[in-house]
Amino acid sequence: MKIRLYNNLFLLVIWSPILLNMLTGDNSLGNGLCETSVEIKNADGLHMRPAMQFVDIANQFQADISVSNNENTVDGKSIMQMSMLAATCGTKLKITAQGSDAEQAIHALKVLVEEKMFDEPPPTAKEK
């Protein structure tokens, strides 16, 4: 009986990070690899200023960060490459991070893009 309990506890310990990730929507793939998909929600899209904010945050982490749209995968720490995504409002991007702080990086970038929306307004009802 006791062994069973420990077994269950053990399983819970193993599964909890995975369950947690499922709940937060992030997708940890093990080996410090983590990815998520985000949608650009501010009206003007990922123009230079938001791209700089993105790159600034990305550079605070040690993990390698790449961002891809359907065509290109670019370095999330390079402003020139990020400008090449031409991510308009409504574009979905996949952010992948690899490294010891990959999870924190993904979380910070997701907050920037989807919650803070780069401190910019979403499209007005008319524009939509």
Binding site: A43, D44, G45, L46, H47, M48, R49, M52, N70, E71, I79, M80, Q81, S83, M84, L85, A86, A87, T88, C89, K92
Partner: protein, 249 residues
Amino acid sequence: MVATEGKTAWKLSQGPNIAKFSSLPKVEMIFTGVLTWLYTNLKDSSEEKKPGKETISTLARWSRNKTTLHGSLSCDCDIFVSNDKLIVGLKMKFADFICFKAIVPELKARDKNAAITELVKALQNAGKIKSDNVQKITRAVIKRENEASTGMGKGVAVPHVKHHTVKKLVAALGQSNTGIDFAALDKKPVYSIILLLSPPDEPDKHLQAMEKIFRHLQQEKFRKFLRQSQLAEQIEDLLKEADENPSLQ
């Protein structure tokens, strides 16, 4: 729905109206062809909702081949599938927004503000902006530039502003042999400056122009060619070549 510029998306679940596409000029065959191909290949693959990477690349390859076959579509055309949408986009060309009459092969300016002023003047002389608006636009670009430098490193700066007096996306290009201090990210002097003016209500086109600019300026070869060009005509040729031949990046 006419996809002449930018991106147009069709929901696959709705089914593209092929009859509608046949009314499109010139490009009709390609779109209809791609859609027919897409339908015969994807319609019954219900077990996999999202088409895989391979499908997308096949489609892209297919469309590229068609593009080269079709003289009227020498630009690179993007056709790709995103979730349940088929996206057809004709990439913006330099010729679509760079005003060739506003190419300054050797800027007289020695500092940032003077370079911006000189390029705005070049656009005025080319008839792209009205003389009444020159000062307003110059001030707006300098103000934007002071908020955060657009000197992106590697000797390139892209000062830009969205201004209500601008009705159509337009850009001027200036070169400096001596180099100009633009407070660039890498602290190095700037040799190539592209001044981009866009209307406030077209954020998507602004992004596409930026994409085009950086796709090429990222490449060392392109930057080198640009810096070697001494005449406006040479720069114009280089830009046109980049439009025709996307592999020259």
